[in-house]
Symmetry: C2
Subunit: 108 residues, 2 copies
């Protein structure tokens, strides 16, 4: 059995679609890359609320919300309510799956 989440062709297409928009990619990298520790570390810095993620991006809150929903639908990020805020973080497991896709555990 694989130690990775099983993701089918359509699942990968959805993931790549989620990352295909520059704004979403930026949000994803903000969450995934915390300092020098590399992608998908689980420190608090990797977990940000919707408003913080949207700051300095020059797009409306409703648009940020839309993009986060897309990232969540594809399985890339997890969310949790904490008071008024919704916290977001990258699912580390799915990153391993994507990595395995490109190092070719993935087959047709």
């Amino acid at each position: 059995m694989s130690k990775y989440k099983t993701i089918d062709m359509q699942g990968y297409a959805d993931i790549f679609k989620a990352l295909s928009n520059p704004h979403r990619l930026k949000i994803f990298m903000k969450l995934a890359c915390c300092g020098s520790e590399g992608i998908a570390c689980k420190s608090d810095k990797a977990c940000e609320c919707v408003g913080d993620l949207g700051s300095n991006m020059g797009i409306a809150p409703s648009t940020i919300s839309h993009h986060l929903k897309e990232l969540h639908r594809s399985g890339l990020i997890c969310t949790r309510r904490n008071g008024q805020r919704i916290e977001c973080w990258v699912d580390p497991e799915i990153l391993e799956s994507i990595c395995s896709f490109f190092t070719c555990k993935a087959k047709e």
Copy 2:
């Protein structure tokens, strides 16, 4: 200096967009995954012409052509004319770059 091609944020967005369409992803995997050797092997099997790629996909030749152009524009595949045919193969270097992105050499 990195041993990978330098790809900026927009470049990655373009790559993910190219892979976000199920038909294009299928074409890409046909090219990238040859047998049990894993992704991006350089054997002849990894190099197919436009017509062969389109067979069994149920879409028009003009659509295949369009998708291959997208894959090429993003830098994922290389092409070369051989007589009447255009041969396509995955650029192995760019795959290393993508892999490094997800193992987080990539930074904001």
